[in-house]
Amino acid sequence: MLIDKMITLENVWFSYEDEHYVLRNISLSVCEGVTVIKGPNGSGKTTLLKIASLLLKPKKGHVIVEGTSFWSASRSVREKLRRKVVYVHEKPYLFKGTVYDNIAYPLKIRGYDLSRVVDVAKEFGVGKILNTNVNELSAGMRQLVALARTFVFKPKYVFLDEPLANLDDENKSRIIRIIEKYARKGIAIVVATHMNINFRKEIVSKIAFMNNGVIVKVSKYK
């Protein structure tokens, strides 16, 4: 595994308010395939994902992205690195407008061609509702739209927070299949969950178990 092709957290500490650390001395590297972060409610999974996806700045420690210490880098370097990384909230926010508008957004701001939107929407099972206003979607539909919007711009690192919440069995297996497909293509996908998700064994590179702000165990498979 190439060091310069991944995101690594080194001795990361984080607190939302002063003095109370909700992450303590976390070291973890994210590489190709699926990394699962498991832990009970409040153990720090979401916080960890937001740090690894470059949204939150650690109080102590480093976040190394492809060999560069992210928070010491210049603004322009940070913007460039950030564009390879995407975080999907457990209750994703959809922009006002249609399903199409949302899936097209990451392409538009990058100035990319929008022709992929329709295919990706079909892949995620939302091809028939492209012109629907997002106000009218169910929670599960919103989740699918958010996932389509995530994969449409070919990110290299994808952080999914409880991606199967709100989904029925059919859509659960659809999303698992899609995650596996993109993982096979070489995208690093990190899934935080308190559930048991049955990914194919050969896809999962590691499972990190969290409890109360620390990683208590890492099982590696590759």
């Binding site: 926010y93 922009f95 701001i109």
Partner: protein
Amino acid sequence: MEGLYQEVLAITLRTLWISGTATILAISWSIPLSLILISSKNRISIFIQDFFNALISLPTVVLGLALYLILSKSGPLGFLGLLYTPLAISIGQSILITPILVSMITSSFQKLRDEVWETAITLGASEFQASIALLREGTLLLIRAILAGFNRAVGELGVALIVGGNIKGFTRVLTTTIALELTKGNFELAIYLGIVLLTLSTIVTVAIRSLGLRGAYR
């Protein structure tokens, strides 16, 4: 009757023009300032927000007096010759409503900011693009704040009276005319103008309410 009607119309239009200008001026700095305040969640930004919150209830005569001292001939900006002009009223009112705009925008955008900002940034937006997304998502909230500011500007008396001087056909607006006509015992015109003022602010208030509701059902 004809003359009365024309006078009411002229004063109403002048009021809308002066307070509209004030609102546009206030928007031009309140929106960027609010965006800066909500994107930096540090102690200074919280202090500034509290400060603006406290300034909402600033008495208009105090602001009028301060502006008078600054704009009068012997004041530091006396050379501009702004005292007793419509622009002086607009400037005064724009300062008056800035705290309302900043407080309403920052408080209503706080939650929206967390969601929209995070989503836009993680999907690859630059900070500028994320700000655009935030404004677009918050358009209704923004219009609401702007209407509230406009309403306050139209209805205030102290600034318009002190720095406007209530000059007939030039700086005379709804509130100052009502005050003047009453002291002259001219109740008819005062009541007409009062009705216009009440109607204006009712329309704006209803608009604010209904925008608030639509925002809530987002």
